[in-house]
């Protein structure tokens, strides 16, 4: 591996790159988001852009598409120096991006979402409605999606929203297509369809930049990769010449340990018991979790996992059923406050809309879930907030300038850690985590797995929902699978393999016995 500090490997220069960025510097208020970042992508390749959370990938993309103007650095489009004043200019130059965690406009229809702005078919300022729907349908069909065109985007599931946003990116005649963690909230069918589309685009000569924390995907899909660390480009090389461990160690600047820590030994004391729970999407669910146990919950998108966790955490009302913590039954639909006091804490699925207050500081975010803990007689103690924040930031290695930095300025992974920190400060008996590693880099993932284990070792019962089967198998002691709101199967981690789990995911509950 040729590590050239801040330099692109000479091999990359043999053809005129479709898009090249050299020595890009971008600072925010003292944060060096990019420090001599370089990227060079060729026509007809899928180019992975890798790096841990906060490495500067999203910032680089925003510079490449004219959203941020760099403090210094040069960009070339097909060998010509360019400056993109705004997104439109970049789009017209054929550079189009699907941005991280920004997808659809909820209040307008699917078709309108797909063909926004300059893409809207029009004549003389008038929208051509028929053409709009036809184009939108074609685009959706090209990614094998069937979403009603007239539906409001607000009514779509998260998966559908991502696919609609992807269709929008395809609507532009992109010569350079940049995708910032497109698969973070997708399940495997969509991922496969996405990959097929990306490959066919590549074959048509489109240059694709692909950001993902799922390295298996990168090795399956990409031709070359660029690794960033702390705002700098560390290396660009062919995927064929790379090994996954080496990529990881380059990303994090040290050699990777085991991704999944060793399992612990669960006790037999029941921490959480759920009996005959019924809700909108959840039907007759019963199970127990023990102290010190890690229970994984799998299933297809929409199978009701998130709703189950939301009911358990008191965030959503339910129709019937009983929940008890350490033998003590909770009142019906207790509300989040009482569930938290009883020891159930939820790390929700949608970080930005449910997990953190973006416009508030890290310490204020942590305080929100711990108001009673940091106050006496209704008065809040700044020292105690600083104390639990300091501890949380240290324990979870939150990367930030200070505890007063706004969460909106943190990278996705660090935002997720803030959510974890605020809930862990409650010292929950039962920790519910909905897709806790979505959008999180491998290094941080390993940290979170270790943290989960460590919590379990301390007696916490942990329930994690995940759509990634290897993750489910790797970190759980026991796995239950949901199908259309019901538990369709349960296996211990030792006997789990992906095939069995998949069968349960589709509700093929033929084989096993031990349903609770």
């Amino acid at each position: 591996m040729t590590v050239l500090n801040g330099q692109v490997e000479p091999a990359a220069l043999d053809r005129t790159p479709a898009l090249e960025a050299r020595d890009i510097v971008k600072r925010f208020d003292g944060v060096h988001a990019l420090e001599n970042a370089c990227l060079s992508v060729r026509e007809g390749e899928i180019h992975a852009l890798l790096g841990e959370n906060g490495a500067g990938k999203s910032t680089l993309i925003k510079v490449l598409t004219g959203i941020y103007s760099p403090d210094s650095g040069i960009m070339y489009r097909a060998g010509e120096e360019v400056e993109f004043a705004n997104v439109r200019v970049a789009n017209r130059a054929g550079v189009v991006a699907l941005y991280q965690e920004l997808s659809v406009i909820p209040s307008i229809s699917v078709a309108e979402n797909i063909l926004l702005g300059e893409q809207t078919p029009s004549r003389g300022g008038m929208v051509q409605g028929k053409k709009l729907r036809r184009r939108a349908r074609e685009l959706l069909e090209s990614i094998h999606q069937r979403v009603p065109l007239g539906m409001l985007a607000a009514d779509l599931s998260p998966v559908q929203q991502t696919m609609v946003a992807f269709a929008r990116a395809l609507a532009t005649d992109a010569r350079i297509l940049i995708l910032d963690e497109p698969t973070a909230s997708l399940t495997d069918t969509e991922i496969k369809e996405l990959f097929a589309v990306l490959r066919s685009l590549r074959d048509r000569g489109v240059a694709i930049v692909y950001v993902s924390h799922r390295l298996e995907e990168v090795f399956e899909l990409c031709d070359r990769l660029t690794i960033m660390r702390n705002g700098q480009t560390i290396v660009t090389k062919d995927v064929a010449d790379s090994h996954i461990d080496e990529v990881i160690s380059t990303m994090v600047g040290r050699s990777p340990g085991e991704l999944y820590p060793d399992r612990g030994t669960a006790t037999t004391a029941v921490a959480l018991s759920v009996k005959n729970l019924d809700g909108r999407r959840v039907k007759n669910v019963s199970f127990d979790v023990h102290r010190g146990e890690v229970l994984g919950i799998g299933g297809l998108a929409g199978s009701g996992r998130s709703e189950l966790l939301r009911i358990l955490s008191g965030a959503q009302k339910h129709a019937a059923g009983e929940i008890s913590v350490a033998g003590v039954p909770l009142p019906h639909s207790p509300g989040v406050g009482r569930a938290l006091n009883a020891g159930i804490a939820l790390v929700p699925e949608e970080r930005r809309s449910q997990g953190v207050i973006l416009g508030a500081s890290i310490q204020d975010n942590i305080a929100v879930a711990n108001i009673s803990a940091v106050s006496t007689l209704g008065l809040v103690s700044g020292a105690r907030i600083a104390d639990i924040t300091g501890r949380g930031m240290k324990d979870l290695q939150i990367k930030a300038r200070s505890s007063r930095q706004h969460v909106s300025e943190l990278s996705g992974g660090n935002q997720q850690k803030v959510v974890l920190a605020k809930m862990l400060a409650r010292k929950p008996k039962v920790l519910l985590m909905d897709e806790p590693t979505r959008g999180i880099d491998v290094g941080t993932k390993a940290e979170i797995y270790r943290l989960i284990r460590q919590l379990a070792a301390g007696g916490t019962a942990v329930i994690t929902v995940s759509s990634e089967l290897p993750e489910l198998i790797g970190m759980s002691d026991r796995i239950v699978i949901m199908h259309e709101g019901q538990i369709s199967g349960e296996v211990t981690a030792d006997e789990a393999d992906e095939e069995v789990l998949l069968a349960y995911c589709y509700g093929k509950a033929d084989s096993h016995d031990n349903f609770s």
């Binding site: 941005y99 702005g117 300059e118 893409q119 065109l149 007239g150 495997d188 929409g302």
Partner: protein, 331 residues
């Protein structure tokens, strides 16, 4: 590997087969429209001889015509997700400018043109402050409201300007087929705005911007220009309303039509409840305007004391909106 289908969604093999609710269905499903019907029925039951008579319906239309225009302006701004507190002040200034120019001998058409340009410029100023200098719409238009009212006082010298040319007054007081001209003008402007919002790329851009500025910006919409245009159009339309109000009253004062501000906002809010997306929309606004018009006319006809009317007006607005929020929560 997990493979999945679209969650919880009926299998929609043909996307065109989705039952689209017709406009009629949408309207009937809305609590706000229901509230309007209830009001009409109530007043009709109380005064069957009068309330739905031709004269009275014409009366109602005449009384709300200018509010409808101002509410149309407000709708556009609220489509892009902002507010305009200066609509009524702008309309008053436009009326005052037209009147004062006509009184000083300027031809009617030029005076009207000047008034419209003044409205347009105020809208432009609002738009620049909000879209390009990133001021909050609330502060910016609050400030404009203050300054513009001051200007209107300066233009009118604090008095009521009158003795406007008859042809000008006819614009507001003339009739065609027994219906006052302002009603036609209000309908015409509403249709144009409805058309622009619904069928033009500009309208789409406004809705996208109002739905989510950031996504719109990242999708290559020039959101700054979209917002600028929305405020400019609102200024222009408000000015039309103001000129018409001056013609309708045959006079112009600095505070004329002040209550159109709050009523226009109320109308748009009432109208927002009739669509699923909760976005401002012209049909809804007109329903809101109708509620306000019917309410005030009906209470007048019943001879309800003015102060009690005010109390009741507030309660009816709350009832209408609550009704539709129950409805939509039912989903």
């Amino acid at each position: 590997m997990i493979t999945s289908r679209n969650p919880g969604l009926e299998d929609l093999t043909d996307t065109r087969a989705i039952p689209r609710r017709s406009v009629g269905q949408t309207l009937l499903a809305s609590g706000t429209v229901l509230a309007l019907f209830v009001l009409v029925l109530f007043f009709f039951a109380m005064r069957p001889d009068v309330f739905l008579s031709f004269t009275n319906v014409r009366n109602i239309l005449y009384q709300v015509a200018i509010l409808a225009i101002i509410a149309g302006a407000q709708t556009i701004v609220m489509v892009v997700g902002d507010f305009d507190l200066s609509v009524a002040a702008t309309s008053a200034l436009a009326g005052a400018v037209a009147a004062s120019l006509m009184l000083s001998g300027v031809p009617i058409s030029i005076a009207i043109l000047a008034a419209l340009i003044v409205g347009l410029l105020i809208g432009l100023a609002n738009g620049l402050l909000i879209a390009y200098l990133n001021l909050s719409a609330f502060v910016a238009t609050l400030a404009t409201l203050t300054s513009v009212t001051g200007l209107a006082f300066l233009v009118t010298e604090g008095t009521t300007l009158f003795n406007l040319p008859t042809e000008f007054n006819n614009l507001g007081q003339g009739r065609f087929l027994q219906i006052p001209l302002p009603v036609f003008i209000a309908i015409g402007i509403s249709l144009i705005l409805w058309f622009v919002l619904r069928f033009t790329t500009l309208g789409r851009r406004w809705y996208a911007t109002g739905g989510n500025v950031e996504v719109s910006r990242l999708s290559g919409i020039n959101v700054q220009r979209a917002r600028l245009l929305a405020f400019t159009v609102a200024g222009l339309v408000s000015a039309i309303g103001g000129v018409l109000l001056a013609a309708r009253l045959g006079s112009a004062s600095a505070v004329q039509g002040e209550d159109n501000l709050l009523f226009s906002v109320a109308a748009v809010f009432l109208g927002m409840t009739i669509v699923r997306s909760g976005a401002a929309n012209l049909v809804g606004t007109m329903v809101g305007v109708a509620i306000i018009g019917v309410m005030s006319n009906g209470l007048n006809i019943l001879g309800v004391n003015a102060y009690v009317q005010q109390v009741v007006t507030g309660l009816i607005i709350i009832a209408a909106v609550t009704l539709s929020s129950f409805k939509s929560r039912g989903r």
